[in-house]
């Protein structure tokens, strides 16, 4: 099957591409199209891989990558929360308009293509129960969450119309991310481990009590592939599903770091709460009810300690640096 990934140069997109090209992928990929604003690196592969540099919100762009024989689209391209809050217009152009353009291209050019879209725990906001499920109304408190909530509704509608086999997964904050900090307001959930392990201080802009809903990169990638691999019937009743995660306070993250990497490493974590950012993060739920996802066989992480070990294994070659 021919598969498209948008946001393929990103953290999750590049890992998803590798997973799909591996010999034990549950999707039988025959051709891979990697799309991002700058052409993503195309890993060596036994199937054709095409890397495309494209502004997805530009007129005609979506039609260039969704073709009559496209079987699956993984739509991961997004302007993340911090940036979308700063630049509303850019955020909506990518997070909403580009999604709409892709859905339209799917409707016009493809045959009920499997359309996996990454959404976010940040569709929720305001006064919340302890663990909202998919029946709870998204009342986002960020422009990122709002554009995603609108895109969710539109994807559901294209699914209802039979124009795209839409499958929306709400991802927890993915941590620990390698590379450098991105502009997501939640990026400190990765900084808190990555920076101390690189011998640098991690400055956490929220209080130690602030709890977050997190998931490891390997689980996130596994679950994206699982979303595409499930039969169409599994998605018909409910096209939007909250993925499982872990509820972890930033103080617990630092404690886990001490357990896995030692007290000296964890001592590099500093708290310097920023009121505006803490308020924005505090409006996002620290836990989602993920019953529906678990019933559909989505995977869940076991502990934040494991997420630190995953980072050490996948990004640091398995060795905790002696600092």
């Amino acid at each position: 099957m021919k598969v498209v990934i948008t946001g393929a140069a990103g953290f999750l997109g590049s890992r998803l591409a590798k997973a799909l090209l591996s010999s034990n992928s549950s999707l039988a990929v025959s051709e891979l199209v990697l799309v991002d604003v700058t052409a993503p690196g195309a890993p060596p592969a036994r199937v054709p891989v095409r890397a495309v540099a494209l502004d997805l919100a530009a007129p005609g762009a979506a039609e260039q990558i969704i073709e009559p024989d496209t079987a699956v689209v993984f739509h991961l391209a997004a302007i993340v929360s911090g940036n979308a809050e700063k630049d509303f217009d850019l955020g909506f152009r990518v997070n909403f308009d580009a999604t709409r353009a892709l859905l339209e291209a799917a409707r016009r050019r493809a045959n009920n293509v499997i359309f996996v879209m990454s959404s976010t725990v940040a569709v929720y906001g305001g006064k919340l129960p302890d663990a909202p499920d998919e029946d709870f109304a998204p009342m986002p408190q960020t422009s990122y969450g709002c554009a995603k909530a609108m895109a969710e509704l539109l994807a559901r509608e294209y699914g209802r119309r039979g124009w795209a086999d839409a499958r929306v997964v709400r991802l927890p904050t993915v941590a620990v991310r390698g590379g450098s900090a991105n502009t997501a307001i939640s990026s400190f959930a990765s900084d808190i481990v990555r920076e101390p392990l690189a011998g640098r201080a991690a400055v956490v802009p929220v209080p130690p009590e602030l709890r977050m809903w997190v998931s490891g990169p390997a689980t996130a990638v596994h679950n994206l592939v699982h979303a595409a691999a499930l039969p169409a019937e599994a998605w018909r009743a409910r096209r939007v599903v909250s993925l499982p995660g872990l509820t972890v306070a930033t103080g617990e993250m630092a404690a886990a770091l001490a357990r896995v990497c030692g007290a000296a490493c964890a001592a590099r974590v500093r708290w310097a709460p920023d009121a505006a950012l803490a308020a924005m993060m505090g409006s996002v739920p620290a836990r989602l009810a993920a019953h529906a996802a678990l019933r559909l066989g989505f995977r869940e992480d076991q502990s934040y300690d494991d997420l630190i070990r995953e980072y050490i294994r996948d990004d640091l070659g398995g060795r905790v640096p002696q600092l």
Copy 2:
């Protein structure tokens, strides 16, 4: 204050204009701008009234009617449910894109204008509790409901950003409507009274047991004005509110007609259920929890008998025709 009504040639829009121009209006209107695809009739008034023919989704159209001194916009223009289901693109263009254009014009041109938007009970669909409140997630089963649910989110976001004082009211099905049947899938809720009183048969495409959430035109207009007249603080926590209504089965509507107008009149009601339409109507809730609206002082109707009497009073000059 300068007030704009979109959809001003429509059933509710024209009544709203009259109410705002009446001497006992709770809004001190100093200028009224009436907008629709064809120029609405401008009633004689003691203040300037401008009638504008405009396609609101056309580039630059919204900027023509929202000006720096605009104080209130009532955005009622919509492609109703039946039509929006038949013509998805037209429906989204008006129900979503035009709303977005108006909000953008408000952001760019006006000063936190009061933006009252009519939304609908049809944002809800699928598996529902008996009476969903505003915390229950909209999962629309029509393109009309979907575009409105998306527009609700966008209006909330412009409210959160401080770009427009957005106030969204979810209207029940408004009945009894005078004039001819419109293309809303719920139009039979008016036909069932209007047609028998005109000596014609009313053919009801749903079973007598099908319950609906309805409100009379006078209450709907009153509540639209109330939405604009409430202080800004009343809307800050929750910018989307479900208006009160009555839960009435179509069989009970016919029984009310017999009580108010006689058995011979009610005998003109025929049932000829259409499976597709009945399924679509059956997916819309028959009752919404309207606690929030009642706390804010919105008005509720007392009985469907009263709605029949209201129609006879306002549309038939107070006389039940002898048929």
